[in-house]
């Protein structure tokens, strides 16, 4: 651990770190694929194309979060996995066996509902035992499974209680116990922490992570909440309008987004756009002419050869924490400070308007206190390594950067 320690002080996104991130995603790839979704399409009887030929896979033991705005197809995808929605086309393979046509109860997939939906007329133990009946286990094995999971979930003291008497944390544990006692190959969670008090939600997230660690089961969790996705996920599948924009480990989704949609939907981002004027000799850095001036960006995120994009219009993304105060970096912009918002324990957020394009907005995130005040003129900048070029606005045809992504 100590040899990696100095990196704690370094800014994120340098080329050296990028290499490291690539290695770690290769490491994860060596873990066995447990779920493979291929060409999945769902057209509802009314003609709505909810899911449009999507592919993604999840490795064993991963915590995969599917996110996207409402109507993006994430719920249809989840319901296809569990068998509540019949796929129009494509295949779902679980642990090497195709289950696209398999009945829901034979799929070996657990489901935790929104609001947990415990059986109110059954005790905690009866809730947990309920699904086991179907497995036809010898009685002593069933008993053993129930008592083990009740203990692991710290529910042993609540076996005879009614679900209505339980705290939110206990309800979550019963819902998880009820599914995990069946030892499913995959556990699906349908936005279980949706409508909850802020503090309680964070505590439940932590418990969920602890349970995931304990059981080493593969979790697929659906939510529209980006911050929750970042707090929970090993892997994120970003959906938009029935398509998968990107499916990757968190590090890759955050640091090397495939599209402008992903860059803005996952985490906060400054998006600039301009014409690529040229590249460095080795092609690793491109020069982009924008309304705010000429900037250098790294090119390794591009699918295209850097030389091919010269003369075209492209967007690039810079995370707010990669914007720094001062002129000692390659790319700089002179800005007026519009607002400074401090959050004790988390530093400050600075809202800026570039002097050369006052209607544009840049956001800077600082871990230290910021002395600049509203109305001040300051210079901010970033290194080419922290500017990520984006091949496309979105995988969805016809999506416009300005109106659909940067507008509201």
């Amino acid at each position: 651990m100590s040899d990696t320690e100095p990196r704690a002080e370094k800014s994120v996104g340098t080329t050296a770190e990028q290499t490291e991130a690539d290695t770690s995603s290769e490491e994860t790839a060596t873990r066995e694929t447990v779920l493979d979704v291929s060409g999945l399409t769902k057209i509802y009887p009314d003609g709505t194309l909810a899911v449009d030929d999507i592919d993604f896979s999840v490795n064993a033991g991963n915590f995969c979060v599917i996110i996207g705005p409402s109507g993006c197809g994430k719920s249809t995808t989840l319901h296809s996995l569990v068998g509540k929605v019949e796929a129009t086309e494509g295949t779902i393979t679980l642990d090497g066996t195709e289950i696209t046509e398999t009945e829901t109860y034979d799929r070996d997939i657990g489901l935790v509902f929104q609001d947990f939906q415990l059986f109110p007329h059954l005790t905690v133990e009866e809730n947990v035992r309920y699904g086991l009946e179907r497995l036809d286990l010898p009685a002593d094995e069933a008993d053993q499974r129930v008592s083990t999971i009740m203990e692991t979930m710290q529910l042993s003291g609540a076996t005879g209680r009614d679900p209505g008497e339980l705290s939110a944390g206990q309800k979550q544990r019963v819902a998880l116990a009820r599914s995990l006692v069946l030892e499913p190959k995959l556990l699906l969670l349908d936005e279980p922490l949706g409508d909850m008090d802020y503090k309680l939600q964070k505590r439940m997230e932590r418990e969920l992570l602890e349970i995931h660690r304990e059981f080493d089961t593969t979790f697929v969790y659906v939510t529209h909440d980006q911050t929750q996705a970042m707090r929970l996920a090993d892997q994120i599948v970003v959906m938009n309008d029935g398509n998968v924009e990107q499916s990757d480990p968190v590090d890759a989704v955050y640091n090397t987004p495939e599209t402008a949609f992903v860059a803005t939907f996952v985490g906060d981002s400054n998006i600039l756009r301009g014409t690529v004027g040229g590249t460095s000799e080795d092609g690793s850095v491109a020069r982009v002419e924008t309304d705010l001036g000429q900037f250098e960006t790294r090119t390794d995120n591009l699918d295209a050869e850097p030389s091919e994009v010269v003369g075209t219009d492209l967007a690039f993304s810079i995370r707010p924490q990669h914007l720094t105060l001062g002129e000692d970096v390659r790319n700089t912009v002179r800005c007026r400070v519009e607002d400074v918002i401090t959050r004790p324990g988390k530093g400050a957020q600075v809202v800026l308007s570039p002097l050369s394009a006052p209607t544009a907005e840049l956001q800077l995130r600082s871990w230290e206190a910021v002395s600049a005040r509203e109305g001040d003129e300051i210079t901010v900048g970033w290194t080419p390594a922290d500017a990520v070029m984006l091949d496309r606005t979105s995988v969805v045809e016809g999506i416009d950067l300005e109106t659909d992504i940067l507008g509201e």
Partner: protein
């Protein structure tokens, strides 16, 4: 308290049947101030707003609005706006956005010139970035747009006081962040006094000039976000606001300096700094350290409190990484947080490392909570 305060609440109490909802609550919102009330659900936040608006009758105590006792001012004549959380229910479905906003103005007694009303509506819709919705019906709008219409309807009246009951709670993350900025702009521009209730900690800490922390109907602390976060007045405030790792144990005074104590915790003796007076020796008290103050590996060396821990997990969240450690004698997972990417790899999982934090960052509390029924053990689970 200065008599020019926009809102002055003094000794306010309210009970429903045998349940005390507000207990001797006192605080003031100065003119032009952005005051945020935060607290767990059931702490009395919304009842407090209701009492100030005149929608809920209080049992005892006084509410003064701009220096005048609220009892002498009928609810209709109170110069205040009220933005509800459930905005869908308050917009008129058969009226356009402009008509809905105009309704706010027509409620005021003053005679408004038609042209003046129109221009004020336009101004407000511009400010809230929804000028294109002017002739739409509420049902044609997104949730975020509807919320802004509700805001516009209250803001257009330019009341001296605006009460807001968690107005951004139902918006999605991106819109919430956008509206937080707009809320600050609007407040700065209007020069009104805002009293804003929320359960969202980030929002409270970002928006407030002054925070009022409520718990079980009582005021736990009044102060700036910095004071509440870094110098919590009670163990409750420390645990409720922000994230923290709690420890519990008997307190003994250290000789070296005032306010320095040792806490005999389950993981060992811990040097701590006392908040708000000195707990009696040997008393069981709560101490806590925030995740951002927990160092690990070589960075832990030389800290005032160093323990041996096992790294069991980490979560990379883009801006920061959260680490989970097991420590002998601790029945929960210790959290640490660092900026940027993880400083560990898969190979480090399960390894033993030192974790450490300083005395100055280890807060120990004289007061558990202003609510007498709250115990130290309750706060371990917050």
């Amino acid at each position: 308290m200065s008599s020019t305060a926009a809102i002055e609440v003094d000794d306010l109490s309210k009970s429903y049947a045998d349940e005390t909802v507000l207990q001797e609550v006192s605080f003031a919102v100065e003119s032009g101030e952005f005051c945020v009330v935060m607290g767990p659900s059931g702490s009395g936040k919304s009842t407090l707003l209701g009492c100030i608006a005149g929608l809920v009758e209080h049992d005892s105590g006084t509410v003064r609005l701009s220096g005048e006792s609220a009892e002498t001012v009928p609810v209709r004549s109170r110069d205040l706006g009220y933005v509800f959380q459930e905005f869908e229910d308050t917009l008129f479905p058969h009226m356009t956005v402009a008509e809905n906003v105009a309704f706010g103005l027509e409620q005021q007694d003053a005679d408004h010139d038609r042209a003046e009303v129109d221009s004020r509506i336009d101004e407000m819709l511009d400010l809230l970035a929804i000028p294109d919705t002017r002739d739409s019906l509420p049902t044609e709008l997104s949730g975020g747009q509807q919320q802004r219409v509700e805001l516009a309807r209250q803001l257009v009246r330019q009341t001296d006081i605006l009460l807001l009951d968690d107005p951004l709670a139902d918006l999605d993350y991106k819109l919430q962040k956008r509206m937080e900025l707009e809320m600050r702009d609007i407040h700065a521009e209007m020069n009104s006094s805002f009293l804003y209730v929320t359960h969202n900690q980030d929002q409270a800490l970002k928006l407030a000039d002054k925070l009022v922390v409520l718990n079980r109907g009582r005021v736990e602390q009044i102060g700036t976000p910095e004071a509440v976060y870094y110098r919590p007045a009670s163990a409750f405030v420390g645990r409720f606001v922000g994230d923290s790792n709690p420890f519990v144990g008997a307190v003994t005074a250290d000789d070296e300096a005032e306010g320095e104590v040792s806490v005999e915790t389950g993981i060992g003796r811990m040097a701590a700094t006392v908040q708000g007076g000195h707990p009696a020796d040997d008393r069981r008290a709560l101490a806590m350290v925030r995740p951002e103050s927990v160092a690990f590996d070589s960075a832990a060396e030389g800290r005032d409190n160093v323990f041996t821990a096992r790294l069991i997990d980490w979560t990379y969240m883009g801006e920061e990484t959260e680490y989970a450690f097991e420590v002998d004698g601790l029945d929960y997972v210790l959290q640490a947080v660092s900026r940027g990417r993880p400083t560990v790899t898969e190979a480090d999982l399960g390894t033993t490392v030192p974790v450490g934090w300083d005395r100055a960052d280890t807060l120990c509390f004289e007061t558990v909570s202003s609510a007498p029924t709250v115990t130290v053990d309750d706060l371990m689970r917050v």
